[in-house]
């Protein structure tokens, strides 16, 4: 991918400038990083035009030059649905214990939502990890808030996911495949923002570490794979359905993505099948929010600590 780069830059106000506009070399590190990380989200809001345009551009760049163009984000999830449904539900015969009354589509829909949400998260995290190093030239030459770079990548990824999920919602309204989600759909924007911020928090940390030490991407890729298996994407977090998983369930519930998947599924699929959930929508939402706050606080603090070294390291 070609690098976005402009020869023009401005400081508005200079990033990291203290009282009276001085940019200090020896400003105390911890208070400065704390101030910066607390101001990260307001700063992002102030620069929303920048990352909105950036996300649009990334989506555009990924679909540019394709025959199907905007249909691709729909085609891929449909194919995934077909594959997962055939392999897991039909071939392996995995299904929920109780009949769900949805003509056997339950397992397919369950898998589909899980994979779509997880892919957006994992892709957003791995691309976000590279966000600083891939745009090194830009960071070196232009003074702008670098945190917009992982954010726009994550937003692009999640938008593509949303198109796929939107296709599913459309199916529920037009066919009898699955009951339509109803008023809970109003929670979609909330989930979208929560997951974007959660991923951003992690990506800010990994992208900063990756700029300092290039081993980070490998570690992230490895841990993401482990994380995928610890997340109920292909399996059902129910002692009834999977007795083997029962002893680990209390631990597995500490997985933030467990809470996120619970939210997405309960918003899109409703409460059935009940075995799919270990917590109510409210509890899952509360857990996801707590994880988001934690990830964002830790990630932006680490980013703020390393931010000044970025242009020298990439």
């Amino acid at each position: 991918m070609s690098s976005l780069q402009s020869p023009v830059s401005a400081t508005l106000p200079p990033p990291g400038s203290g009282p009276e506009g001085w940019i200090e070399a020896d400003a105390p590190l911890l208070p400065r990083a704390l101030r910066r990380s607390l101001g990260l989200v307001p700063n992002l809001l102030a620069h929303r035009a920048l990352w909105l345009a950036g996300a649009r551009r990334e989506i555009g760049a990924r679909l540019a030059g394709t025959l199907l163009g905007r249909l691709w984000p729909l085609v891929q999830p449909l194919m995934l649905f077909a594959v997962y449904y055939t392999v897991f539900a039909r071939v392996f015969g995995m299904d929920f214990k109780r009949p769900t009354g949805q003509g056997g589509a339950a397992m397919g829909v369950y898998l589909f939502v899980g994979v779509a949400v997880w892919t957006a998260f994992a892709e957003g995290l791995s691309r976000g990890t590279l966000a600083f190093t891939e745009r090194g030239e830009l960071i070196k030459r232009v003074a702008f808030p670098a945190e917009v770079l992982p954010l726009q990548t994550i937003l692009a990824q999640q938008t593509l996911m949303l198109i796929g999920l939107g296709g599913f919602v459309l199916l529920t309204f037009t066919t009898s495949l699955w009951p339509a989600p109803g008023a809970r759909l109003l929670l979609l924007p909330v989930l979208f923002v929560l997951q974007a911020l959660f991923t951003l928090g992690l990506a800010l940390a990994t992208a900063t570490l990756h700029a300092l030490l290039r081993d980070t991407l490998h570690v992230v890729a490895m841990l993401t794979t482990l994380w995928m298996f610890a997340t109920p994407i292909f399996w059902i977090p129910s002692a009834e359905v999977l007795p083997g998983v029962a002893p680990f369930l209390p631990w597995l519930e500490w997985n933030p993505m467990h809470a996120f998947l619970g939210c997405w599924r309960q918003v899109l699929m409703g409460e059935t099948p009940a075995e799919a959930y270990t917590a109510t929508l409210g509890t899952s939402l509360a857990r996801a929010s707590a994880w988001t706050a934690l990830a964002l606080a830790a990630g932006s603090f680490l980013f703020a600590l390393g931010e000044r070294r970025l242009p020298d390291e990439i």
Binding site: S2, S3, L4, Q5, S6, P7, V8, S9, A10, T11, L12, P13, P14, P15, G16, S17, E20, G21, W22, I23, E24, A25, D26, H47, A49, L50, A53, R57, A61, A64, E137, I139, K140, R141, V142, A143, F144, L212, L213, R214, D215, R308, R309, P311, D312
Partner: protein, 395 residues
């Protein structure tokens, strides 16, 4: 006095690690174990520029000029000292080094504006101005990947020219592009100066620094070696460069690798004294010593007079007059009787060329500027030989 730019013992240190393990050790102990070698690219720089000042940065490659510009632009954090600039700051660092190649010039204008903190709507409003300045015409709707480097440069400068910065930072932008556009850029920069924009310019062309700036800073090995009047500092710098070049030239190895070059130049008046200031119509004499360590095809010399805005007032060349320079070294003497230049300040340029006057071996601006005084009230750059005749209509 209102300052537009201020630095106090500003310094930049880069960390050099001999291995990734040392770096990992330093990072994981939060710097308690030091694994890097410090390298100071810049140190102890104190600057204070009033509003509307123009500072030229001169120095060898790697002296720290670009590091200083990047610190001022805010895209690199200082390791020592502090700095303060009057917002908004616009910078042209490595002009045209790349846009988003898949997107059109117009889209890149909006994107560049967003990075500057200027909204998309406002940037679209400025598009017309940018389109006109860049002279890109229909290319503005084509992807930037189809542009020549000169076109990218034009777009970059046009975008920067469309914003109204308090401080404008420029890194080597006049080195590229065709003459006509270069002149346009210089004109625009001069216009910025008139509007009170503070300017910091980094250039290898001492000529540009003298033309555009009133102050110059000579940076040598990361230190501020001299700071003051642009003409004085650039003269000091160029005479030192000349000395060190001559020292190089005396070494046989350097001589072997040597290209033809200008060894010394003298600008003299009718009495043979250095001419810094002459009367319009006085005689002028320019002596140019050249050397050609490996005499090959003949050489040619050109001499030109330029006005401050880079307009070439007049130029002559040995090749145009059917003369050739041969041999290892020699002196060319150019006599200019009754110089027709009118009052003003002129830069004297000397070019050492191949025998056809195509390839430039060296382009050299005489360190001192020629000031011409004039008693007549005639206007313009040169006095035309003229005669009047009045014919009265007999009614």
């Amino acid at each position: 006095m209102e300052l537009a730019l201020e630095t106090q013992r500003l310094g930049k240190c880069y960390r050099r690690y001999s291995s990734a393990a040392r770096k990992a050790l330093e990072l994981s102990t939060f710097g308690a174990v030091r694994g890097h070698q410090p390298f100071w690219a810049l140190r102890g720089v104190d600057l204070a520029l009033p509003r509307g000042a123009a500072l030229g940065l001169v120095g060898r490659n790697g002296a720290g000029k670009s590091t200083l510009l990047r610190l001022l632009a805010g895209c690199s954090a200082p390791s020592e000292g502090r700095l303060r600039l009057r917002a908004p700051v616009a910078s042209l660092l490595e002009l045209g080094a790349g846009f988003h190649l898949d997107f059109s010039g117009r889209e890149n204008i909006v994107l560049a504006g967003l990075l500057l903190g200027i909204g998309a709507r406002e940037m679209r409003a400025r598009q017309q101005e940018i389109a006109e300045f860049s002279e890109l015409g229909e290319f503005l709707d084509q992807p930037v990947r189809t542009y020549s480097s000169g076109m990218g440069m034009r777009l970059g400068f046009a975008i920067a020219a469309s914003v109204d910065p308090s401080v404008l930072l420029i890194d080597e932008v006049f080195a590229v592009g065709d003459q006509a556009f270069q002149k346009k850029c210089v004109d625009r920069v001069m216009q910025f100066r008139k509007q009170g924009t503070t300017l910091v310019l980094c250039s290898h062309s001492l000529y540009d620094v003298r033309q555009i700036c009133d102050l110059a800073a000579w940076i040598d090995a990361g230190r501020l070696r001299a700071l003051g009047d642009a003409a004085e500092v650039t003269n000091d710098y160029s005479s030192l460069m000349r000395e060190s070049e001559q020292a190089d030239a005396q070494r046989p190895a350097a001589q072997q690798a040597g290209q033809p070059r200008i060894v010394a130049t003298r600008l003299l008046d009718a009495q043979g004294r250095p001419a810094l200031e002459i009367e319009s119509g006085a005689d002028l004499r320019i002596e140019i010593e050249w050397s050609d360590p490996r005499p090959g095809p003949a050489l040619a010399l050109g001499v030109g007079f330029l006005r401050q805005d880079r307009t070439l007032v007049a130029a002559c060349g040995t090749h145009l007059d059917g003369l050739r320079l041969r041999g290892e070294r020699g002196t060319a003497i150019l006599e200019l009787p009754r110089t027709a230049l009118l009052a003003g300040q002129f830069d004297v340029m000397v070019w050492l060329l191949d025998e056809h006057g195509v390839h430039r071996f060296e382009e050299f601006a005489l360190p001192q500027r020629l000031t011409v005084r004039s008693k007549s009230k005639e206007l313009g750059l040169v006095r035309l030989e003229h005669r009047w005749r009045i014919e009265q209509d007999a009614r």
